[in-house]
């Protein structure tokens, strides 16, 4: 089964995103900041990471840079998912190694489309 780590300090966002990923047959893990996410990735590297930018302790940008330097850290497809919506932020995120970028607010169609963009096609039968 494909695995996904949802990294966001908002419990509401994590819950909404979890539902979307679960209907796409992902096994979902959650982390509420970059530091916890890095620990989780050290244990098991997920196939995909949905990543918020602004979080306490370690933000999404610093997490991504640390992840890409860690062993096996080049493997996960990272989708930033943030309210940081200006071109400069998007360019920085891509430069740091993000594969795709979702601007909040988002919906199921956007997540599905962006996952397809990075190679996770919706499986037949998935709701």
């Amino acid at each position: 089964m494909k695995t996904c780590l949802i990294v966001d300090d908002s419990a509401v966002i994590r819950k909404v995103a979890r539902r979307i990923f679960e209907t796409m047959n992902f096994q979902v893990g959650e982390a509420e900041d970059g530091e916890k996410a890095l620990t989780a990735c050290g244990e098991t590297m997920p196939d995909a990471i949905l990543l918020d930018w602004n979080m306490p302790t370690m933000d999404g940008y610093d997490f991504l840079r640390a992840l890409r330097k860690s062993p096996g850290g080049e493997k996960p497809k990272v989708l930033f998912c943030t309210t940081e919506n200006d071109v400069g932020a998007i360019a920085r995120a891509l430069h740091a190694g993000a594969d795709e970028y979702i601007m909040k607010p988002f919906d199921r169609d956007i997540v599905t489309a962006k996952l397809a963009q990075v190679g996770f096609l919706a499986e037949a039968g998935a709701a």
């Binding site: 891509l94 956007i110 489309a113």
Partner: protein, 306 residues
């Protein structure tokens, strides 16, 4: 809405846009035409029907027809038809037109512009190979309202996130408040024109590649056959026609055949065999766009060397 009123509207729409509504689409008529009634200060659909039967009001007629069209679209919709353009159709057409150095592409149901702009992005990516070429990218739609949006090239946060890779977003768009505007160079590549596919369109000229996706599904079989036959006449003998995933030519015309290698792609049945010139236009259906350009070579905007 009474049965008589519903039947009137079905006939009215069938004649004007080809839309074939089955009996169970009553709800659709009610939900889409409610706002039209309010816009024209009419109490209900009954009053709208009475108004439509009275003196011809072009604004109302257009509002009714446009309200019933479906404009659902997004960038690189279904992906495959665009990969096919980049990897097969464009290189092959360039090889065949190497002498003329001219390509003509038509999006026949362009809606709010996402399809022609997706092709324009790919043409721009191929610009080094297209240096010295003339590429016509014509985009037509029945609805003038969606064409205005297409020309403006302004898209919402949601629209630019469905189908468009983020790299393409930052490469080709600029932020305008909450919206995103596609670059001027891409906007200039597309020649937008209002066109009802039920009306003659041979004045647009002949095309190497035609995208006509997700519009035939709304027509009945005779209308599909008629539109396909005329699309075929507007297609170069070695040209390519792309239809939507739920559409086909089978059982509708024998002049076009499915390509054996690529799903959704259709070619002329007998390459080289062209229909005789001087086709008859359906009586009483001469659209303004055709009258304006009829006879003369179409004054299409050209993109030279991109």
């Amino acid at each position: 809405m009474t049965d008589l009123e519903f039947d009137f509207l079905r006939g009215y729409l069938k004649t004007r846009s080809g839309l074939a509504l089955s009996g169970e689409k009553r709800y659709l008529v009610e939900s889409r035409l409610g706002p039209v009634c309010r816009r024209f200060n009419l109490a209900n659909l009954g009053a709208l029907v009475t108004a439509l039967k009275g003196t011809r009001d072009l604004a109302m007629e257009r509002a009714v027809v446009e309200a019933m069209t479906t404009n659902e679209t997004f960038f690189f919709r279904d992906r495959t038809p665009f990969d096919l353009f980049r990897d097969v159709l464009l290189p092959e057409a360039m090889a065949r037109r190497a002498t003329q150095r001219r390509l003509r592409i038509w999006c026949a149901a362009a809606s709010s512009g996402q399809e022609p702009y997706s092709l324009a992005m790919m043409l721009q990516d191929a610009a080094p190979r297209l240096a010295g070429w003339t590429v016509d990218l014509v985009a037509t739609d029945l609805s003038t309202e969606v064409l205005e949006k297409a020309k403006a090239g302004l898209y919402s946060h949601f629209e630019v996130q469905r189908g468009l890779p983020v790299q393409s977003l930052i490469k080709h768009f600029e932020q305008v408040g909450e919206q995103w505007r596609i670059s001027a160079s891409l906007r200039q590549m597309v020649d937008y024109r209002p066109l009802n596919l039920l009306h003659p369109f041979e004045a647009l000229g002949t095309f190497d590649i035609i995208y006509c996706r997700n519009v035939l599904i709304y027509f009945d079989a005779p209308t599909k056959g008629d539109v396909l036959a005329r699309l075929r006449n507007s297609l170069a003998s070695d040209g390519a026609l792309l239809l939507g995933a739920a559409e086909t030519v089978i059982g509708l015309t024998d002049k076009l055949v499915p390509n054996t290698q690529h799903r959704g792609l259709y070619n002329q049945a007998a390459a080289g065999a062209r229909a005789p010139a001087g086709r008859l236009a359906p009586a009483g259906l001469v659209p303004p766009v055709a009258t304006a350009v009829m006879g003369a070579p179409p004054p299409l905007r050209r993109v030279v060397g991109l």
